[in-house]
């Protein structure tokens, strides 16, 4: 057993090694910082004027919309709200197809299963539950509910992996976790954040088994799903990271933060390569998503607007008004024909 003095020395030696490793990391990253992305992008044409309008408004939630997800069929949407309701919509017709009342309020997370046959959701109940969607409109969906994930604090985000069989969750308890849907078994847990994890996104399937998470510790972490190892970490934001989303090629990811900026991090350069900000934007960005080619970044803000950014040049190409309260979630449809935004004004809007 180490006496106090030895233990103190060892901790100090480790701290010193920690500091020197951090310095080395910065040095290595700086060596490769030969140019800025927007400088390389000067040679490509600027984007023209964008005309994007609200094409559908989905009304029906009784309180703030907190999350939404598209079905792979490109027309159905699941959304969840502070009032505990989870609704499945047909975005073409705006009809509601299913509605579930959760036993808790603040359903912060919802996700569509790849098959389109189930949805997952959770929030202040600290759980992620899966509801199979029935073709029978009269069937009580709540009866078939399956509890899958259990955290020790609120569920902030959830996502099915490539099948209906596994779900990845992030939580206010500071961890992410991978679960088997059938058995509810914890397959892997991911520790490394030092505060609430607010968002996660899975790498596009071609790029392998990793995902990125972001949280209140201002860090974005990249994880190996099989080993649970945190393989890369980025800490340049000045406040909570509310949302993370992979660039479609899987080589980079974007973040939206309470510091009123969105940023792009390249995984192979291992650094931040772009900041999307303006002096006039002073409210936090709650949600981000890329268009299909990755050239456009749609970002929803707490000042009720959606800003559209040229990812390569770093400039804003459009600002969209319409919501009457904070925009909480923004997702591009699977075929890229439209994007959906959800807001604290209780509505969802489809833009194209």
């Amino acid at each position: 057993m180490l006496c106090k003095k030895n233990q103190g020395e060892t901790t100090n030696t480790l701290k010193a090694e920690s500091e020197s490793l951090k310095a080395k990391l910065e040095e290595e990253r700086a060596k490769l910082h030969d140019v800025e992305l927007h400088q390389v992008a000067e040679k490509i044409d600027a984007l023209g004027q964008f005309v994007m309008k609200t094409r559908r408004t989905l009304k029906g939630h009784g309180n703030k919309v907190l999350c939404m997800d598209w079905c792979r069929d490109k027309r159905r949407i699941v959304s969840s709200s502070q009032d505990g309701k989870v609704i499945v919509w047909d975005a073409y017709t705006t009809n509601k197809e299913h509605a579930v009342t959760m036993p808790c309020t603040w359903v912060m997370a919802c996700a569509y299963a790849p098959s389109g046959c189930a949805v997952a959701c959770g929030g202040l109940d600290n759980k992620c539950s899966v509801y199979p969607l029935s073709l029978d409109k009269n069937e009580n969906l709540a009866a078939k509910k399956k509890s899958v994930a259990m955290h020790t604090n609120y569920l902030s985000s959830c996502s099915f992996t490539n099948s209906d069989m596994q779900i990845l969750t992030s939580s206010g308890d500071g961890t992410c976790a991978l679960w088997d849907v059938e058995s509810g078994q914890l397959l892997q847990s991911f520790h490394g954040h030092s505060a609430d994890v607010l968002s996660l996104d899975l790498a596009p399937s071609e790029t392998g088994n990793t995902f990125v998470s972001g949280g209140c510790d201002k860090k974005a972490n990249v994880w190996d799903m099989r080993s649970g190892q945190n393989v890369q970490s980025f800490e340049t934001h000045e406040s909570d990271i509310n949302n993370v989303k992979y660039y479609p090629s899987g080589d980079a990811f974007a973040t939206g933060s309470d510091d009123a900026t969105c940023r792009l991090y390249d995984l192979r350069a291992d650094r931040e390569v772009a900041i999307y900000s303006k002096d006039s934007i002073i409210f936090g960005a709650s949600s981000v998503d890329f268009s299909l080619s990755g050239r456009l970044l749609f970002a929803g803000y707490n000042d009720y607007t959606i800003n559209v950014w040229d990812v390569l040049k770093g400039t804003r190409v459009a600002i969209l008004f319409g919501h009457e309260n904070r925009v909480s979630t923004v997702r591009v449809s699977p075929d890229g024909t439209a994007f959906c935004s959800g807001s604290w004004d209780n509505t969802l809007r489809i833009w194209a």
Partner: protein, 92 residues
């Protein structure tokens, strides 16, 4: 103890409504924590990196190759976009 708890911090709900979480490893065992930090930093320091110029060129190339398949970027006619309203047709 977390140094920030999103919901309480934002004033959205009272702290008593939210389940308290148990104290985590941070701060409870300094030596173990320091060891983990060093191990983690060793993993991060050891990865292979490429230059920003190369990474940027690759991002640009991906955008360029996929631009024509990006409806929100290119704009597609109302007839091809299920969300855009078609012009009303007259039945003769």
């Amino acid at each position: 103890m977390w140094n920030s708890f999103k919901f309480v911090k934002e004033g959205w709900i009272d702290s008593y409504m939210v389940s308290k979480m148990s104290s985590k490893m941070v701060g409870s065992n300094n030596l173990a924590h320091a060891k983990r930090m060093v191990q983690q930093l060793r993993v991060e320091a050891s990865i292979e990196r490429i230059k920003v110029s190369k990474a940027s060129a690759d991002l640009m190339r991906y955008c360029g190759e996929n631009a024509k398949y990006d409806p929100l970027l290119m704009g597609i006619p109302a007839s091809e976009n299920p969300f855009k309203d078609k012009k009303p047709c007259t039945i003769l």
